[in-house]
């Protein structure tokens, strides 16, 4: 414990921290403080817990914001556990994200079993998460605006991706390309084709969603994100309607979006980002009323 106490302030801003820290607490960091800091991180690990609903949580958040020494201590505990602190605020709580090799990280193989054997399934599950985020925050402004709450429906996400794939198909047809992949090189198949040829839904014996269908995959993503405290289920229409939480916005903005972007750049693909005027259809999802009962994400 004393190690932490000695090290944590030293790493951050030693002078500024040592100064005010003794003033409220009256002394240097104690084991009790360390326990409190760990407790705050533990609260952060329960993403569905709202600070407004728990007095102790709210109190620890207040301490984090008002006592820099305590704040650094909590950060250190989080870092030691393999967590990244995204934001600490009354609206998001102690928002922490798992580092890539942390014990808290979610692995694709645990997420869906088929993904190990089938490259197509692996892609579809990843794409589903990307598409949920894209529909939840259709414009860059929405992702940047802290007050924005996105709304999605499972069927809406599916028909959105399907529509995009269809456009790519039309474009390939216009160019006269033959997009049918070579039989012996499935990895070279264009990604959109994998989505386009998977059926959107299917009847099952027990009236549940067909797990392998695209709505099944998107539904799984939405349900999983709900468990992560990123989405809240608001209704059953259109395969399930959800709204976003502040944590999801942080996670997508600060972690996932940039990670995916970095990977894309590494592949040599430089996405055009000339601001807002020529934005391609981010507010996508308004088509959904027409395709089955997908529902509009913004007017629901």
């Amino acid at each position: 414990m004393s190690d932490h106490h000695a090290e944590a302030p030293a790493r951050g801003e030693p002078d500024a921290a040592q100064g005010p820290a003794p003033a409220p607490g009256g002394a240097a960091v104690t084991p009790a403080d360390a326990a409190d800091a760990a407790r705050l991180v533990a609260f952060g690990l329960q993403p569905k817990l709202l600070p407004a609903r728990d007095a102790e949580y709210a109190e620890l958040l207040r301490r984090y914001r008002e006592e820099p020494a305590f704040g650094r201590l909590a950060d250190a505990v989080a870092t030691g556990l393999g967590l990244v602190v995204l934001e600490v605020s009354p609206r998001a709580g102690m928002a922490v994200a798992a580092d890539e090799d942390s014990v808290f990280a979610v692995r694709m193989g645990d997420y869906a079993r088929r993904t190990a054997a089938d490259g197509g399934d692996r892609f579809l599950h990843g794409l589903a998460h990307l598409a949920v985020a894209a529909l939840a925050f259709p414009r860059p402004e929405d992702l940047a605006d802290d007050g924005y709450i996105g709304r999605i429906t499972v069927n809406g996400v599916d028909s959105f991706v399907r529509q995009t794939c269809r456009r790519l198909e039309e474009r390939a047809e216009e160019l006269g390309e033959n997009t049918d992949p070579a039989s012996d090189a499935p990895g070279l198949e264009a990604a959109w084709r994998v989505y386009a040829r998977r059926s959107a839904t299917g009847a099952t014996k027990d009236a549940r969603r067909l797990a392998g269908s695209t709505t099944g995959i998107v539904g799984k993503a939405a349900a999983f994100l709900t468990e992560s405290g990123f989405l809240q289920r608001t209704g059953d229409d259109s395969g399930g309607t959800y709204r976003t939480t502040p944590r999801y916005q942080l996670q997508v903005r600060d972690m996932a979006g940039s990670a995916a972007m970095a990977e894309l750049l590494e592949l040599g693909v430089v996405p055009v980002s000339d601001g807002s005027a020529t934005l391609l259809p981010p507010p996508e999802g308004d088509d959904l009323e027409l395709a089955a009962d997908a529902g509009l994400p913004f007017h629901a």
Partner: protein, 512 residues
């Protein structure tokens, strides 16, 4: 002449490839047309396949023409899929049954249903994970290398509908196979079909008109589908789409088209109605009546389309308000669609998976690993399951109030009147006599008898016919005046007519 010379030419050219081995690849341009035809050919394969595979079914299914049932199923789904959702699975099966039953009338109904379901499920291809079909074909690339390619297609696809239900839609491939109009312009094809119909009707050739009208309806469905997709795309892009000109133009154009079609089809409707009413030949009359139904259906579909088009404007304005007139955000975010999804989808699967994996790893949140203590585990395993309370709260005894019987006549009176009116078919009676007889037993009874007699003046022949009844009460006015202290009017002749129930049943089943 040309068609005669063509095969002989091909006979000459057939051995030719053996000699000039120098240029084995005909080039990508020639191959493209071949590839397109190969794909078109592949779309019909599942239908042929049904007839091949029926031998593998447990039981004797050789009598059923599976390809015919399959084409009928595609027809039914195409005609029944609405603008919003699609066709209902059970409904399609139910409508297929008469055809299947007609193919093997002697077999049990359960087997007919099994065949219908089998065909429908095979058209969806329930067994595969994609629920689609794959055909493999080969082409020469630009560099002369022969490549085998996979062609994936669906004939009937399942789409989500209201309340989580699953509906069926036919795909473009299926519609093309069915209508046989590959690569045709939908608009012009529709106009052509309708002009043809008008001409046919004006010349009175209704049999052909029926066929043309059905084709026109296929076109209408196809057209609605195309428009739905265009509309999908435009309703989405508030900022990318030119709201000043392009979108209103597009909507105006579509509305004009609907109005045009509506006028057109109403004109056709009036013409066919005239044809229907004037037609002498019974067969023509029936055909015209069916035609009226088809055109009405077309009009209904156009009306539906129109209401969709009218909704688009307000939706655009609401989106415009939300997006364009908000205060600018202090920082910038990533354009998830434009900068991630759009560039990722055209990538090869291998590369795209790297990007989605990166997003997945960082974007799914965290899970706290479970750590179990043996002591807890034992306790959990030994805890008896909580008994569920299956029955809810006790139902309150409903408080019933007897309503007073306010009928004018009692059951006994009705029975007495029916006995009185149960006349032998060869001996009709005057109403005056019946009334007098009724009055002798009960002063109220004549009112009931008079009522029944007046009803019999216009007997429900149609109902009796449909229900297969054997006798029918009728009353005829021969001009004699009724001489009665209580009633006035005509002294009706009341009698019973015998209906030939057996012949009626035969006549009923014959036409259908």
């Amino acid at each position: 002449m040309l068609s005669v010379s063509a095969p002989s030419l091909s006979v000459v050219t057939l051995p030719a490839p053996a000699k000039p081995l120098v240029s084995p690849a005909p080039g990508p341009a020639a191959d493209e047309g071949l590839a397109r035809r190969l794909r078109a050919l592949a779309c019909t394969a599942p239908l042929h396949d049904l007839d091949v595979r029926k031998a593998n079914l447990a039981g004797e299914y050789g009598v059923y023409a599976m390809a015919e049932v399959a084409l009928a199923a595609i027809d039914l789904v195409t005609l029944n899929m609405d603008f919003d959702t699609g066709a209902d699975h059970e409904q399609i099966v139910a409508r297929l049954l008469p055809r299947v039953a007609a193919q093997a009338p002697g077999r049990p109904a359960a087997e007919h249903e099994r065949v219908a379901r089998w065909v429908l499920e095979n058209l969806i291809n329930v067994g595969s994970v994609d629920r689609g079909f794959r055909a493999i074909y080969g082409t020469f690339g630009p560099d002369g290398v022969y490549v085998r390619r996979d062609y994936d297609f669906k004939l009937i696809e399942e789409v989500p509908g209201y309340g989580g239900a699953v509906y069926l839609r036919t795909t473009d491939e299926a519609v093309n196979v069915l209508v046989g109009a590959l690569d045709t312009d939908v608009t012009s094809a529709q106009i052509a079909a309708e002009v043809k119909l008008e001409v046919l009707i004006s010349r009175g050739r209704l049999a052909d008109a029926q066929l043309a009208a059905e084709q026109a309806r296929y076109r209408t469905v196809q057209y609605a589908e195309t428009l739905r997709r265009t509309l999908d795309a435009t309703r989405r892009n508030v900022r990318a789409v030119d709201w000043l000109e392009a979108v209103p133009d597009m909507i105006a154009e579509a509305l004009e088209h609907v109005a045009d079609r509506y006028r057109h089809e109403n004109a056709i409707l009036t013409n066919i109605r005239k044809a229907r009413d004037e037609a002498e030949d019974l067969d023509n009359k029936r055909r015209a009546a069916e035609l009226v139904d088809i055109v009405k259906d077309c009009i209904r579909r156009h009306t539906q389309l129109q209401s969709r088009l009218l909704d688009a404007g307000p939706l655009f304005r609401a989106e415009q308000d939300r997006q364009a007139f908000a205060a600018p955000a202090p920082r910038s975010g990533i354009d998830l669609y434009g900068q991630l999804i759009a560039p990722v989808l055209p990538l090869p699967l291998e590369q795209a998976t790297r990007v989605t994996d990166a997003f997945f790893a960082r974007g799914t949140g965290l899970r706290t690993p479970v750590s179990v203590r043996v002591a807890d585990l034992v306790e959990i395993l030994l805890t008896p399951p909580v008994e569920r309370e299956h029955l809810g709260v006790e139902m309150p005894e409903p408080d019933l109030i007897a309503t007073p019987d306010d009928s004018r006549f009692s059951e006994e009176q009705l029975a007495a009147a029916m006995v009185l009116l149960d006349l032998p078919h060869d001996a009709p009676r005057r109403l005056s006599g019946l009334l007098a007889e009724a009055r002798r037993s009960d002063p109220e009874l004549p009112y009931l008898v008079a009522l029944l007699a007046v009803h019999a003046a216009s007997p429900a022949v149609g109902t009796a016919y449909r229900q297969g009844e054997e006798r029918l009460l009728f009353a005829v006015d021969d001009g004699t005046e009724l001489d009665d202290p209580e009633f006035g009017g005509a002294d009706l002749i009341v009698g019973t007519a015998l209906l030939d129930a057996a012949a009626m049943t035969a006549a009923r089943t014959e036409p259908s």
